[in-house]
């Protein structure tokens, strides 16, 4: 099985450890991975802020880079949601029929990490070991845009040594919302305060998710507040083994 990784802009810059973990995980499962050096960003930040013209550029770029790929794996649910929910409209608006066709052909081969593992590789036990107390935050895009459903739990339930603590109000947004976190920083922070209360009261050591953008917001607040918790992308937990524990534990 061959697949190409799309490590979107903020993961490449701010969370390279997530990309490294996903490489370790997928190669361990026998995937022949490639990484296109020309990749940058999916355009979500622009599209969601109203800069649609700019988002076109990134959408076109995505199709150009990946049209011949067997599968594209993206460990960021909101970037996948951007591609799945917003690109079709962008290509329709662009009116370039050839590009639209190429995109339509490519779309079924674009996977969020947990989708790729459960749906494509048909694997739930990825051989992970993570002896810690963990709570899972279901990011809105994973929950309501991608409908990830029980995929994350199918994977987490098979992680050896891990104790899961359910998070209350699982479907409530953490308040990140991309540029919302800056344009409406105060409301974003109020939402985050409510979410952190739920997370901290689980008594978990780690809060995990399939989207580092929520985790950047929540982890940044945990650090500011000396909350005694850390955030970790689920890909890093799934990559973690007894011999090679997650980098976050170092």
């Amino acid at each position: 099985m061959r697949a190409s990784l799309f490590i979107t802009c903020y993961n490449d810059t701010l969370f390279p450890e997530t990309g490294r973990a996903v490489v370790k995980l997928l190669e361990r499962l026998g995937v022949d991975l490639s990484f296109h050096p020309g990749q940058t960003c999916c355009g979500q930040m622009h599209a969601n802020t109203g800069f649609r013209g700019e988002a076109f550029c990134q959408a076109k770029r995505f199709v150009r880079l990946y049209q011949d790929t067997e599968a594209v794996v993206i460990p960021s649910s909101s970037c996948v949601a951007m591609i799945r929910d917003q690109y079709p409209g962008l290509f329709e608006e662009l009116g370039n029929e050839e590009l639209r066709k190429q995109f339509t052909a490519l779309l079924p081969r674009v996977y969020e990490l947990s989708e790729f593992l459960v749906d494509r590789l048909k694997v739930e036990d990825v051989g992970a070991y993570f002896p810690h107390r963990v709570t899972y935050h279901a990011s809105c895009h994973g929950l309501r845009a991608l409908h990830l459903g029980d995929r994350p739990w199918k994977l987490m339930n098979k992680v050896r040594g891990m104790e899961q603590v359910p998070l209350a109000n699982l479907d409530r947004c953490c308040g990140f919302g991309g540029t919302f976190s800056v344009k409406n920083a105060e409301v974003s922070s109020a939402m985050m305060a409510v979410k952190l209360q739920d997370i901290v009261s689980t008594g978990a050591e780690f809060c995990t998710a399939l989207d580092n953008s929520c985790l950047m917001h929540l982890g940044g607040a945990m650090h500011r507040q000396y909350a005694g918790m850390k955030t970790i992308h689920l890909g890093e937990i799934l990559a973690s083994t007894e011999a090679e524990p997650a980098e976050a534990l170092a």
Partner: protein, 485 residues
């Protein structure tokens, strides 16, 4: 003065932008507690009643289809409504905008020699700012919906479209009633409060022969008007007065009487978490010897027909004002409704207000959302609110781009530069390098950034940011490939 310590402004032309308007609310523990508590109560009830409907998704699909069909044929159905209503003894008036609607209503009241009027809860009348207009013209308005009475007596504004006084708690209601009704020994027992309101209302019902209502639905097939409510005070307004004037947005029309089967089911469950609302009044023109003997309907456009023509935005008009979107919204739960600066708050307000009131009056509203999608998930007529929000955001940007003053705005400049950078991988990689070098000055010994200037300060005011790692992912991958060779 509003009892909650600040003055809400529900006029998009005058209200502060959302990020500013939220500040006094976010600092008001009483108000936030009231809002979150009320929302949580409604949400639990709604959750139970939606879950018991095994065909809920089918009902949503049907609701969306009925509303969409009505909008696609709006002209024909409105004409049919006018014909049938007129045939039944009603008089139909058409108002292009708020000013015309106000003038029509005032003229009708003058014809009745009315110096006082009682009102059934209507958000549309708040949209056209009817009460202050009538008061200035010498007509006293009396709200009869309990929540609206609380707001009117408390000189406050609605913060929710179904439960307008959601931000006011029981002890605050007691204070308002005691002060304005002169009942200094009033207790905050719900029965005592209801009795006080009833006493106050009964006199109005008996003395004032003219009433104004809104409409939940207009039925084209029969020419009927439908109002749903919980208290029965609307029913009183339909029983005692001689004259009824109904104000309704043109989008409120349903094709057939039978469509109420779907719409009333989804409305009650979505709005108040009830299987059926306690009072559903349906009236058709005038019935001799029963209810108002003079009946007028004012059909209000006020920007609606221009929304109708737009592909993505049109779905906004499907709205049946159930408020499920605001009850489910994590932003609204923190802010309540006043910060939206419009009688229509929450997610539906964030898309409706800018479209009804012209975009430049409500620039900040399409951004008052984290795009979490909860509103779309609960909407009983499947309005894809996030999709419309994005469309409106792109219109805001297109409008603002042209302004010279926006050229150096950090957000606009930043996003334009970011796009340039993302368009070439080598530029992106160079920018990452300089970003890392630049941010080093702000990174503390613990490896985290605690404070950033300019737009960055909006992040660091409540959150730290981990300093940029030395090696990017693509850098790591390239090194690994080289090693493998």
């Amino acid at each position: 003065m509003s009892h909650s310590g600040y003055h809400p402004v529900l006029d998009p032309a005058l209200a502060a932008p959302f990020p500013e308007a939220v500040l006094p609310v976010l600092r008001n523990p009483q108000l936030r507690k009231n809002v979150a508590h009320a929302i949580d109560v409604i949400q639990v009830k709604r959750g139970k009643l939606v879950a018991e409907k095994t065909d809920w998704q089918a009902l949503r699909t049907a609701g969306a289809a009925i509303r969409e069909h009505a909008l696609e044929n709006l002209g024909a159905y409105l004409t049919q409504f006018e014909e049938r209503c007129t045939a039944a003894g009603g008089v139909v008036h058409w108002a292009a905008d708020a000013a015309e609607a106000r003038q029509i209503i005032l003229k009708l009241l003058r014809e009745e020699n009315a110096s006082e009027v009682i009102k059934i809860k209507t958000m549309t009348s708040a949209e056209i700012q009817l009460n202050p207009f009538l008061e200035a013209a010498g007509v006293r308005t009396y709200e009869t919906d309990l929540a609206e009475i609380i707001l009117q007596l408390g000189e406050d504004e609605p913060s929710h479209i179904v439960v307008p006084a959601l931000h006011v708690n029981r002890s605050q209601v007691r204070e308002i009633f005691a002060r304005r009704m002169g009942l200094k020994d009033l207790s905050d027992d719900p029965h005592a409060l209801t009795a006080a309101a009833r006493n106050y209302l009964r006199r109005k019902f008996l003395e004032i022969p003219t009433a104004i209502s809104g409409a939940n639905f207009l039925v084209a097939e029969t020419g009927s008007v439908v109002v749903v409510e919980s208290e029965g005070n609307g029913r009183m307004c339909l029983t005692l007065p001689r004259t009824m004037i109904t104000l309704a947005g043109i989008e409120k029309v349903l094709p057939r009487f039978q469509d109420l089967e779907v719409m009333l089911q989804v409305l009650a469950r979505s709005a108040t978490g009830e299987r059926m609302n306690p009072y559903t009044s349906v009236w058709t023109g005038v019935t001799p010897g029963d209810g108002p003997q003079k009946f007028h309907v004012v059909l209000l456009d006020n920007g609606r027909s221009s929304i109708l023509a737009k592909k993505t935005e049109r779905q906004t008009l499907r709205c049946i004002r159930c408020a499920a979107c605001m009850n489910g919204c994590p932003v609204y739960r923190q802010t309540g409704g006043h910060a939206y600066g419009s009688v229509y708050p929450g997610p539906i307000g964030a898309i409706l207000t800018p479209q009804l009131m012209q975009m430049h009056h409500a620039q900040s509203l399409p951004y008052a959302s984290s795009l979490c999608g909860a509103c779309y998930e609960v909407c009983p007529v499947k309005i894809n609110i996030p999709e419309v929000l994005l469309e409106l955001r792109s219109q805001v940007v297109n409008q603002e781009r042209g302004h010279a003053g926006r050229f150096f705005d950090p957000m606009y400049l930043g996003l334009r530069i970011a796009n340039m950078i993302f368009s070439r991988a080598w530029l992106f990689h160079t920018a990452q390098f300089f970003g890392r070098v630049g941010l080093k000055f702000f990174t503390r010994k613990d490896g985290w950034i605690h404070s950033l200037p300019s737009v960055g300060s909006k992040w660091t005011q409540t959150r730290d940011l981990r300093g940029l790692p030395k090696q990017t992912f693509h850098g790591w991958w390239a090194a690994r490939q080289k090693e493998a060779r």
